[in-house]
Symmetry: D2
Subunit: 165 residues, 4 copies
């Protein structure tokens, strides 16, 4: 039996924490993405948006799958050549970007643009994860940095839609 | 070091065979999808199209990742609740459909429609894999049936584009 | 000044009606798509789901854009070769399928599969629109049939998600 | 009768030129996107990649459709509220980003990230078009800047794939 949607959310938030990411790390990226478009933006509004994204079933499933692949790669438990592709964060692998499309689209197509931007510029915790994955041979964050970027991008879209109401 | 693109293709074709799928199984689905649009369609044309799809890097990566998740689920090596979600082929999981989007799109957006159709109607080997995954508790084909459907759908698009030249 | 979200919904429902599609036509397709998965499914549940889909901003924008292109094609007001591509519903055109992706994804990736299926099988009003567009030289429904298929597919996904709660 | 694929390419290149964009404007963006990953990158390699992207059928169709909508908006020939949404480049409209997805994906999922990045940073001609569309009330480039960004992003992906061979 699979957990309820509410329990699944708790499982995912705990999993992100275990992999080094706090909700506030994501909220900060959302704030930075939207502050120039929404003059009176508050951190509380951004936190609510992150919470809404983390309540969605398709987001849970993407987190569970991506983090699992990162952890299996860290334990060298994947078959070759997949083990090397994920462990080395091969830039042509591309499955990490595909996996998180389901997250980006949760609040409309403007999430895609934000995702592409943070994936290139790697602000805040995304840059930390990316460097850790590349420098520490025991860490793999091939999926994790894209998951966080996509959650932040979807939350930024939600902020944009709500502030236009 | 990751294999060359040519070696990667061989690895993937062998992996499909190990999981019970021959190239000719896919070719048959392509032929059935396109025969009503291309009157003089031959199996050789469909086989060439499948070969083109199986030469693409993004297709290799999707195959390697999806088949790995199926095999790990069969060995009960995934963490819960992901293990149960994949092992039971939960209809809301949806990551299998997302993963194969990269394959569907290889020859344009008409691949998506073909994919949706075969994913619902489960012709030929796709139906065999789906039933095996659901009935045999030692088999998991949650990703495999979508991978095959997407390869067939992309190859059908390639046939459609070429026959319009 | 653009209309409020609530006014936009009314504008879109009226536009669908003007182009020959009633809400109940869409509800019927949703019911047929989901009845085998949800034993006690009612038309009221499907109607609510269609209403939720028709309340989304990205759905409004896709409807406004697609229907406009169909109507301009009917009036022969598009430039060549676009006029001929849309007017003849060229099977390789593919922009109609791309445009409605934003609708399909509104309730997760399982919407894509349903869309692909109805786009091939053309149940109910979708088949009527498709034939009218192809047979009557004064009618163009190149975008309309995909819009209706995508709205039905997204509503079916919403029904599936809710019945799993 | 629709033009051949080769004629369609010429039509599209001429259409881009008519709307103020030269091939070399796109090539420069590709070079800037890839120079840090490919040390010995030349402009000739980037120009070849742009040419490959501009040879694809799905790219032709996206260009024809997007430019048509921009030109109709300039002539105030669209129905309201679509006319205002496109003419004002409403940030929530999002259909421009959806339309060009078919271009971004032509060389795999890494095109999406590049597209999101250029869509936010608006380098070179993309910024010029964006400002012109917003400042000059007779110009509308709502679709054009996304089309150019997507062509550049897809060409950058092609360069990345080829340099990895």
């Amino acid at each position: 039996m699979t957990p309820t949607k509410e329990n699944m959310k708790t499982i995912c938030i705990n999993l992100l924490a275990k992999r080094g990411v706090k909700i506030s790390d994501i909220t900060e990226i959302v704030f930075d993405l939207q502050k120039k478009y929404v003059p009176d933006l508050t951190m509380a509004v951004c936190e609510d948006a992150v919470d809404r994204v983390l309540s969605k079933r398709e987001v849970h499933y993407a987190i569970l799958t991506g983090v699992e692949l990162d952890m299996l790669a860290e334990k060298k438990m994947l078959s070759e050549p997949l083990q090397s592709l994920i462990d080395s964060d091969n830039p042509l692998y591309g499955i990490d970007e595909i996996l998180v499309l389901s997250i980006c689209n949760v609040y409309g197509s403007i999430g895609l643009t934000n995702f592409g931007y943070v994936d290139k510029t790697k602000p805040g915790i995304i840059g930390v994860l990316d460097r850790m994955g590349k420098e520490d041979e025991h860490s793999c964050h091939t999926f994790m940095d894209d998951l966080i970027g996509a959650i932040a991008a979807a939350a930024a879209s939600s902020v944009a839609h709500n502030s236009a109401k």
